[in-house]
Amino acid sequence: MKNSTSVERKSDREAVVTRVVNAPVAKVFRGWTTAELFRQWWVPKSAPMKLVSCEMDVRVGGGYRLVFDYQGNQMAFFGTYKEVVPDSRLVWSNDEAGDAGQVTTAIFEDLGGKTRVVLSELFPSKAALDEAMASGSLDGYSEQFEQLEELVRQA
């Protein structure tokens, strides 16, 4: 059975996602920090885009770069790991939006054979979160993708 995923708007500039994963914390952490594994789940099959490349240098100060493809058009998402605590905590920046980008914190709680993941996305301001909400860049329904879709339709 699938576990439930909850989402909470914690404050004007923070959204928090919580989910229990049916695997030990070390294994879950590997899934988040190994590019070969990460690329197999980060973009669900139901999403309108595909992940074409995924580079991750998971250490403090190391970078990541994800390239998505949507009907032949590519977009990159990138940032830097700010905190890396094995089997416990990951913090990274999202730099593709410049100064308006959020800082994402993933906390892995050992529930003995299972793992609770609490993921927070903290924006620099309310305006930045509102903007990300409106553009859909956080939920896979990006305005950019919609614009591309529009272009493709017209072509």
Partner: protein, 109 residues
């Protein structure tokens, strides 16, 4: 279930529980209106209308702006439904992501 911010929800429900405040939202849906004009339309004192507007403003349903001596009210930029729709999409995306992670972890040794 979407765990919508409980405090925000309560504020919205309280704001919408009053017939005058629902009327004010309806009026603002038609056009931006000053508090003085709202008080006149709903036949109440300025103080009484200010109180209603403040409750709507705190719930994010109405925004006000003072230009000179006139405070004008308009519908809040933060429409409740928009935020709910966004939270639902956001949750859906994360649920799909975690489902895929669960599948992968099952295959991993």
């Amino acid at each position: 279930m979407v765990q919508y911010s409980q405090a925000r929800f309560s504020a919205s429900f309280a704001a919408l529980s009053d017939v005058t405040r629902r009327g004010v939202l309806e009026q603002l849906g038609r056009s931006d209106t000053s508090i003085t004009e709202l008080a006149r339309k709903f036949r109440m004192t300025l103080t009484g209308m200010k109180k209603h507007v403040r409750i709507l403003e705190e719930a994010g349903l109405v925004a006000t702006e003072k230009v000179g001596r006139v405070r004008t009210c308009r519908l809040g930029r933060h429409q409740l439904e928009q935020e709910m729709a966004w939270l639902a999409r956001y949750r859906q995306m994360w649920a799909a992501r975690f489902d895929a992670l669960d599948e992968l972890l099952e295959e991993m040794t």
